[in-house]
Assembly symmetry: D2
């Protein structure tokens, strides 16, 4: 299959995850474009060099600008802190590159809109890192909803809660820098908002309540000096979907004990689905109308009957891991670049999600219901 | 131990549950007043007679008024539809009886206030059927919170979801009659609101969104004619507690597949507790500061170390059932009548809960945050 | 309904449990004979008097012999240590009483046989306290198996593990006294053996391995002096059922952390059932042939559709507790006395179970397969 | 890092899994030898060519013999049916190659011994595909046991049950061919036996019962003609470990509904561990001596604190999948080749496991306890 040159900016958590996924994808999806790891850039040049050695990039540098203009780079993957996504993505788009960007793509919807418009004008393919929805078992969930197997949807309850910011001594960092956008509502709230759209479509109205729980954080690890935190640690919203049903969403990064409580319960007139990323290979399904004697939630385990699970493992029960969700994301991206189906989520979808985040932040400030404009 | 005369009004689901609890209590709590089942009343006299035969009441009638004035009746238990609680309770109070009333005690807080004031003026003991908080494992939860073992509480998420009204052909009945108050938010929302107060204390501010999902219901079982439903099937609220933390609450009686999803997750700076009535003998506890290698949620199973479990069963692992929660409720009530600790929840607490329900209903109408007055 | 006089021997764990069940039964099962608590006996007369006051027995004494001959006593309930069951049961049978005896009814099958023959010759009804199989959800399990819904049964795996003897400083007591029969294999192994028979019918062959883990125990609480333990702490067996399938059984009372791990997995050619008493209101069911996309184990929750759950609670999701299983046992016993269906387990069934226990003990000694004679 | 040439024989389920793991390892373990995919062989040459294209092997053929003698191949990975492992492994060893072989390495312990001796004589490194024990959370389990955190081990209960042979119309295939060794006891029993040794060390005595449930299978998919099955569908054993404790083991490939019920419960005098591959990122741990009020099993979730999880993902909660266990296996193998720690399991360990399987098969035939010689 044809090769495609890839450059990755950033070598932190997501930088590594992207590199692993680009390395893995052609082995799992034989029909995929074959990524060629051309270049990696990091503000810390040594980190870039280490990543190049580890993952097999041909070039490493501290200069992301030369990466995006590198003629051998056809795809730019952006895994840097949120506040620099825009500049990097626009530069890559200007250079005619396809862009794979981590979420949220920008601090504000207005920025996301500029990025989306630039990409669409340039005709490049974009992909945003809402990796969790790439889970085959969530593909099943969505297909059941779309096919009407749950009847009319009447209720949604979604949450993304973790505890990585629960300790008041976690230092001030880019995640709490308001120039990067919101706090928990943006960082992980974007995942559950995106998941709710993936399953149920547009959200049209929001009332939100955002709370800062840890009022200040050390300016650096162990520092006595503390800096005031202005973004939310917990964001709660009640929402109305365009399709008519209502729901609730919580984003919480001080949820002590929770490492990946990303999940939902969606109820329709004919069925209910329950999912938690804590057990990412399971989907729980209740179907109305079964013999009451033996009715109940079915624990569906992911298997090769749920594409593309079978690309990874031919037998059921073996289970996919998080990194493989990222591989599916990359496969979808490369398929779109090759002219196949555009599954997204792309910059347009990221913009839609960002509008909901912005609306939630504004709603919390104004303490009232707001339409998602 | 001393006997006490008991009269029960109503012989439906809760009437039977009360009768079983009054029959059981003295065997489980040897120090308790011994209930003497004096009288039972039901609008359907045959039902009353059947209940008398089944549970051993000395007298049965269709006339609740004579029951509340019966000199041998010292305690009146009210298990009738919500809209008649007030009249019956006031009559019982006027007759100087202690009153055990199912929840919600009245359609509106204003009514509950009148009932509470009457009871306090008369000096009778009152008890309201928020039975779930009588669970020994929830006593443990509360004691942990009160003792500060969870640190400062930062987040609450509560829900009570069932599906007994999910079928659009469930006929119009007293539960959806607006003269009885709200819909799901009142009928089961009262449980999770009461539980949140039991654990965390007063709620001072609410924004709620109440939705009617099943717009009309048959006027009677199987009838073609349908009647418009005006109360909520789903109620969602974001709340602020007096202690400073925020939370969310959902009441939902169209939650297909859920039979008793009454539960919460409460997070503090030092620990988290998770509970669901679906597994009512378990409490999940995460304590900050454990060795990360082996940290995680502990599944605590109810046992005799969690009083008063040991009154029922001397060995762990055997598990209490729902009816035994009601027995604990009765034991608490009789203890208060005998001059012991007043654990409640009494009419004052029911009034406090009802104010939150009323505020939620009003907040949903006005689509804005409201203080709980 | 007609009354029936009841006398209980023993006021420990099971004595109290029986007393509660006899008190409760008529309220739950309106068609039941109504127990009249005539007499209670305990070797400790004060304990007997306390029990009489608590549960409402008319008479209390330290003399079980007068209890069994008391003309007002029609049913004798035996809840004493295993080694005295035989003498007491035979005396009760000789006096023409119906006998409700805790399990195991005797230290050896030979003793159980004598008891069974005496009861059958006298024409009295007997009931043995294998209470767990009275669970409505297990009634469902059995009915599915009997109806062939699981196809041909191919495999059984059963366990009863708890940790009440795990601490090496639990003193020597009647449970480890070899004159009472076996150790774990008799005390709790009898439950899972009985459950396997309840579900699948006779066991015809056994190879067992019994192990003593705690070699000696203090002669009394806190004593330095220790006494050698001769009975098993862990019993494991591979078994063959008459119907052709094979299975395994484990009894273990040193299973640290386990409070009630009584459960099984039974597999057939058309379905599988999984149960654990740790979640006694749930049964997990897999049915072959479902659409693979959504196949999986269904979590069936006990409800009124599973008789006699509805006698206790008219709504699903509320859950039964252990004591209510005992109430069902008593109801079944009284129904049989009144001339209704004899559901057992009676002394004959207890004898069958005891033969398997004896065979397992002998098999372990001889280290070879033995037929259950 | 230095490159190492890899050749893989077989392109089925395990062939693909190996290829993915060799492709992934250097990106995850930067210090690892870097595999160079030199050659792939499959009896079906087209399959070999497809695999070469998919995974990036330089050469493909139907001739495994030329692969093992290919000078550029330094490591030979054998993923063919069990019965041909021996010939291929011996050829690879003779050619001085390091050998990575799927389990079981041979139909009989005698064959495994020959393979082990050849490898040791040749000084090549061997690795056997008992991938499940590479799970970081099982590394934690083992380290707890080794460190004595569970006290003296008193009990083990292990199982590996799946349902891939449950359908009587699954055709006769190499898995049921007796020339390949046993049935379920060999195919998946080897996993749980290996896991028991990984955790607790040698098994010295066995009594087993092997059963054929599906007596005949179609000679080919859909064929009317059926062939008699001689190997076991279910194998049960009671075992004694050298360290003194006893245990049980079940292997079952007709366990309808079970896709990966590979797990254990190991109990000591100070703690208990429970694991199931159905939730492979969780380990449940009970520690004796906790405050009874809050004691219980802790659900430990895999995270970067459990090496080498952090090589894959730097954050907790994200979860590893099955393929990543294989990557860890490959990393361990390459580390040993590079002169680092030999973690195994190697051919010697495979031989030890095979001896237990052989003993179980023989024990079942003789229907008696046998020592593992």
């Amino acid at each position: 299959m044809q090769e495609i040159g890839v450059g990755i900016i950033g070598t932190g958590f997501m930088g590594k995850t992207h590199a692993l996924a680009y390395r893995a994808v052609a082995g799992v999806f034989p029909e995929s474009l074959r990524p060629k790891l051309v270049a990696v850039a990091d503000i810390d040049e040594d980190a870039a060099k280490r990543a190049a050695a580890q993952f097999g990039f041909a070039r490493a540098s501290s200069d992301w600008k030369s990466l995006v203009t590198d003629p051998a780079v056809e795809v730019v993957s952006i895994t840097t802190p949120n506040r620099v996504h825009k500049e990097q993505a626009l530069a890559a788009i200007a250079a005619g590159k396809h862009v794979h960007c981590e979420k949220p793509i920008a601090p504000r919807a207005a920025d996301a809109k500029i990025m989306m418009e630039a990409a669409e004008a340039a005709g490049v393919v974009t992909q945003v890192g809402f990796n969790y929805i790439k889970n085959p078992i969530l593909g099943l969930a969505r297909s059941m909803i779309v096919a009407g197997e749950l009847g009319d949807i009447v209720s949604f309850r979604g949450i993304h809660a973790e505890d990585y910011m629960a300790d008041a001594d976690v230092p001030y960092n880019w995640r709490v820098d308001p120039s990067g956008g919101g706090g928990a509502i943006a960082d992980i709230g974007s995942h559950i908002i995106g998941m709710s759209r993936f399953l149920l479509g547009p959200i049209v109205e929001v009332i939100a309540d955002l709370r800062t729980v840890v009022g200040s954080r050390p300016v650096s690890p162990g520092a006595a000096e503390r800096r005031k935190v202005e973004v939310d640690d917990i964001g709660r919203a009640i929402v109305r979907f365009e399709r008519g049903c209502s729901g609730s969403i919580e984003a919480n990064w001080v949820a002590l004990g929770r490492k990946m409580q990303l999940g939902f319960e969606v109820t329709g007139t004919k069925g209910t689905l329950v999912f938690s990323q804590e057990r990412l290979n399971e989907l729980h399904f209740y179907r109305a109308g079964a013999n009451p004697r033996e009715a109940g939630f079915v624990r569906i385990e992911a298997g090769p009957q749920h594409a593309p699970y079978g690309n990874f493992i031919v037998a059921p029960g073996h289970q996919l891991g998080f990194n493989e969700l990222k591989t599916i994301e990359v496969a979808d991206f490369l398929r779109a670049i090759a002219g196949g189906e555009q599954k997204g989520p792309d910059f347009r979808e990221a913009w839609e999600i960002q509008k909901i985040i912005d609306t939630a932040i504004q709603s919390s400030k104004e303490r009232r219901w707001l339409a998602v404009s």
